[in-house]
């Protein structure tokens, strides 16, 4: 018995030292990281990776602010959330020279507005948010936001929206041609009225099952991310992803270095790992989104280059990032969202 206790204690001690030297705790979106890639990282570096997942930027922020800081090394916020987290002081600064592969970042993503100079983050994946339409149920022009907000009669009641305030509001603003953070009262009233009226045509708000409700035929139109749209089309060929002439939402998820990261060095190794074209291409092949790294071309699934979901037609409007509004403006948008969902 004594021997057993002693060996158990010895094992526990060994496990502890191993953890102190080679651990990495990742806070990541669900279904967004191929397990083989994590295994490859562990094989190359000997670092054990633990991953927790979240389903929205806001949920991640809430859990970090409610005591999650100091637990995780890296997280993967979307563009606007990088700016918010930096503003809240949740991000650590990556000094010059700390990332060996920083030069691999594609030039167009090297100095984005949400993280000038890439001092806190590296690109993970980027894509767009619009909607897919079942062309068997509707044969008209789908490249217009009217499909969501002022739908033809045959699509009314067959529309699923993402249960995500930021994305719905951004697309609605593009639909009306108004700024995303408007303080013009007339514009805001009109936006409120437009959304409350449009809701009568919507069947549901589902994010987790956005793809599944389209494939199953529960709805004929569904707001969706482009990569999910591609996966949906693979399961149901009549689905087509729309690029509205009024514009669509563009987003980029980024790996950020969190303040008080318990394994800061390993986090930097992980970021360097993800900046290697071969590795980040594996994520793109899995998630069907774009990588923000130069030289991925050789490693990408050839099908991705011609993916209709990733190649906007000439008629497509401008892509727009979700904007970060100030507190007073945001309060009005929150109120509008409550009015839509009450």
């Amino acid at each position: 018995m004594k021997l057993l206790t002693q060996s158990a204690m010895a094992l526990a001690l060994m496990a502890n030292t191993a953890a102190a030297e080679g651990d990495l705790v990742v806070y990541h979106w669900f279904e967004y990281m191929p397990q083989e890639l994590l295994d490859k990282f562990t094989a190359e570096t000997g670092i054990n990776v633990t991953m927790d997942t979240y389903d929205s930027n806001e949920a991640m922020l809430a859990s970090l602010k409610a005591g999650g800081m100091g637990t995780y090394d890296v997280a993967v916020p979307g563009d606007y959330m990088v700016a918010i987290m930096a503003g809240e002081g949740l991000l650590d600064t990556i000094a010059d020279g700390e990332l060996a592969n920083k030069g691999n970042i594609a030039p167009e993503w090297a100095d984005p507005s949400f993280d000038p100079g890439r001092t806190h983050s590296i690109p993970y994946q980027w894509g767009s948010t619009a909607f897919s339409v079942d062309t068997e149920a509707y044969s008209g022009d789908i490249n217009t936001t009217d499909i969501l907000f002022n739908p033809p009669a045959e699509l009314s009641g067959k529309i699923n929206m993402l249960d995500s305030q930021g994305e719905v509001m951004a697309l609605a603003s593009l639909h009306m041609g108004i700024p995303q953070c408007s303080s013009d009262r007339e514009q805001l009233k009109a936006l409120n009225e437009m959304l409350v009226n449009a809701k009568a045509h919507w069947a549901s708000f589902n994010s987790d099952t956005a793809k599944e409700v389209l494939v199953s035929g529960d709805v004929a139109v569904g707001m969706i991310y482009d990569g999910f749209g591609a996966k949906a089309r693979a399961e149901k060929a009549s689905l087509q992803y729309a690029f509205p002439t009024q514009g669509y939402v563009v987003w980029m998820d980024n790996v950020v270095l969190l303040k008080d990261a318990p394994n800061r060095d390993n986090a930097l190794k992980f970021m360097d790992f993800l900046l290697q074209p071969e590795n980040i291409a594996a994520v793109s092949n899995y998630a069907r989104y774009g990588a923000g790294v130069s030289g991925v071309g050789d490693f990408l699934d050839p099908e991705l280059a011609t993916l209709p979901e990733a190649n906007p037609p000439a008629t497509a409007g401008q892509g727009a990032f979700i904007e970060v509004c100030d507190e007073a403006t945001q309060a009005v948008y929150d109120q509008i969202w409550t009015n839509v969902k009450k």
Partner: protein
């Protein structure tokens, strides 16, 4: 064997009488740490100032309660009018939970009666059968329900194939789907307490009533129901209270088109609003409501016991 254990139990209580307070310690610690402390924290948070994008500033504020009861317009600068938004959300949840409770009672009572009137040897098996679906996670069961109910799902396919309907019944994303989901989630909480009551019921009383020319309906109403009332009330509470805060069924089966209490509170912490004090205030109001309902039930029960 069972009898020996029971008599041993009573003498054991005397043996440990001196240590009673110490033996109760673990329960007290659990109650204080996991029930009382979080509720106190919520109470305090509901009176603090909201921090932009989640979190609180440690300054006293009544704003969360003001937001709940006062409608100050889209821009928040109008005088206080009665805010119907949240009252509507609460009323919707109460109504849904109430409907689910009644549905559970209608199905659960005969089920419990059926089990309790089986021969003693087979009762355990029937109870066991009731609990089998609950070995699977609630989320998975709710998603499965969605598969079953959808327009092109097995239920509609079956009804069409036997010629009962021509076009699919549109159930998914309606209130009916939410009630079915809640009813299905919490049915055993109705069946089991009622079963426990009916099992203890002395069926000789029903026979006596029949001998005195009471109809079956009268016997049920005047003899059986009063005798098993505690079980019925317990079942109703156990179904109603969790249904009130449920958000899985409303989100997955109801399409999340309208806030329920549960999803409204969740949105304040996890969603875009990031309004922790308001979420805490809404939780406190819900808690108060549930307490009042429980007190009313408890009072009724005491009255019923006093008269019987």
């Amino acid at each position: 064997m069972a009898g020996g254990a029971a008599s041993g139990g009573s003498s054991a209580a005397d043996t440990y009488a001196g240590a009673r307070n110490w033996l109760l310690m673990p329960s007290w610690v659990v109650l204080i740490v996991f029930v009382l402390a979080p509720v106190c924290m919520m109470l305090i948070y509901s009176f603090l100032t909201k921090e932009f994008r989640g979190g609180v500033i440690w300054e006293f504020s009544l704003k969360a309660y003001d937001q709940f009861f006062c409608d100050r317009g889209l821009f928040g600068d109008e005088p206080c009018a009665i805010e119907w938004t949240y009252i509507t959300i609460f009323w919707r949840s109460i109504w849904q939970a109430g409907a689910a409770t009644i549905l559970s009672l209608i199905i659960g009572f005969p089920t419990a009666y059926f089990i309790a009137t089986r021969p003693e040897r087979t009762r355990a098996m029937w109870v066991f059968l009731i609990t089998i679906p609950y070995w699977v996670n609630l989320l998975i069961r709710t998603v499965s329900m969605k598969f079953l109910l959808r327009d092109q799902g097995p239920l509609n396919d079956f009804l069409i194939s036997i010629g009962l309907i021509d076009s699919p019944l549109h159930i998914i994303n309606t209130n009916l789907a939410v009630q079915l989901g809640l009813f299905y989630s919490y049915l055993p909480f109705m069946v089991l307490p009622i079963y426990a009551s009916v099992e203890r019921y002395n069926f000789a009383l029903s026979e006596a009533a029949a001998d005195l020319y009471a109809t079956k309906w009268t016997t049920l109403r005047r003899i059986l129901l009063p005798a098993v009332k505690p079980g019925v009330i317990a079942g109703c509470i156990l179904v109603f209270v969790p249904s009130l805060g449920a958000f899985l069924a409303p989100d997955l089966l109801g399409g999340a088109k309208n806030f329920m209490i549960g999803s409204l509170i969740e949105e304040q912490f996890k969603g875009n609003a990031g309004n922790w004090p308001f979420g805490a205030a809404a939780s406190m109001i819900l808690l108060t409501m549930v307490l009042i309902i429980l007190l009313i039930f408890a009072r009724q029960q005491r009255k019923a016991e006093a008269t019987s």
